[in-house]
Symmetry: C2
Subunit: 213 residues, 2 copies
């Protein structure tokens, strides 16, 4: 029974790593679509969002099956239920990559992001990518130090978000309301992507240490 | 054991209803703060967000306790785990009411919403309120018909969201980028509030019928 539990849990854990890698790849490609007005990249992200949803359903099925057959308690119970909550965060990260891709597509062949904002979005995308990479690592092997780094990365994302708004709200903003709105919503997509990743990281650490960070 | 399970479940169910009523009251008050530049109302919403978070933690604790002590299976298991997912949606609805209140406060004593947008935000708030009311009812007594109504309410919210953007992106928009950005983000807060409510409603119906809608 115990070995079976470990084997089942290993499958769930691998599904979460697969989800994390998929939503990382999705945001990388969505950023490429955004910054280079690449229609194929945008369409590929949108087409593949269903894969992430499919992985989420697999996690859901496996977790219910595990709870029903094995009735885990204590830290094993926490581990199994946390998987469901982490999967929900990862699924939402996939949705946010999809939103970025759709914004790029809506403006194609024009770029959705004007020259003044390319720098800040490039940096936001780098932080998002770093965060997604760490989530995949933390899910493979829980690590409180690495999870704490996620909080610092999230602070960096918040600082970039403020920097973005300073540009959008500057008196000299030359592009009018539509481009400002796109910029504000895109900023929110990257920021929420990071928030969900940090939330997932906290859940994993809580599972391991019993402490919230 | 069976009676004890029912009694525990009843407590969890009541906590979810309390959460639904709290996030409904929060969004009503946040809307009042937004449309009447009411500083006290905005501050009250922000101060009380911690109550919703507290209820969420209580649901979390009770669910783990229930799973560990009673090891439910089949539909009982689904009911218990669903409570955790519904609580996560409700908690996020509270956050979104908090975001609306903070936007109102940031612009105080000016109104965050100009005259041209008051109508559409009044309607969005009405839909949000109707949705939150139905969620509280569905949680008290699961009802697939009522849950299906939530989907129609969500369609109404999406239509209002499109109407809002038509105003924001109209060539005659007289208010510049900052007010447009506030309008776009506020629109997203109401729309996401509705999305989370519909998601919670779907979970409850799935729990009862085993069918996704």
């Amino acid at each position: 029974m115990r070995d079976e539990f470990r084997a089942d849990l290993q499958i769930v854990s691998q599904l979460l790593v697969d989800m994390a890698e998929a939503v990382r790849a999705a945001m990388r490609k969505a950023t490429k679509a955004l910054l280079t007005a690449d229609r194929d990249a945008a369409e590929a992200v949108i087409a593949r969002d269903a894969e992430v949803d499919g992985l989420y359903r697999q996690v859901d099925d496996r977790v219910y099956d595990l709870l029903a057959r094995q009735a885990p308690v204590a830290s094993d119970l926490r581990t199994v239920v946390t998987a469901l909550q982490v999967a929900a965060d990862l699924e939402r990260m996939g949705d946010l990559a999809d939103h970025v891709a759709k914004t790029a597509l809506r403006r194609h062949p024009s770029p959705a992001v004007p020259a003044e904002l390319r720098g800040v979005f490039t940096e936001m995308a780098e932080v998002a990518d770093r965060i997604a990479e760490k989530i995949a690592k933390v899910l493979s092997r829980p690590d409180a130090d690495l999870a704490a780094e996620l909080d610092r990365d999230d602070d960096a994302m918040d600082a970039l978000h403020r920097e973005l708004f300073a540009v959008l709200l500057h008196d000299d903003w030359p592009y009018g309301a539509e481009t400002a709105i796109d910029g504000a919503l895109l900023g929110r997509f990257y920021e929420r992507y990071a928030d969900h990743a940090v939330n997932a990281g906290r859940q994993v650490v809580y599972r391991v240490t019993g402490d919230t960070i």
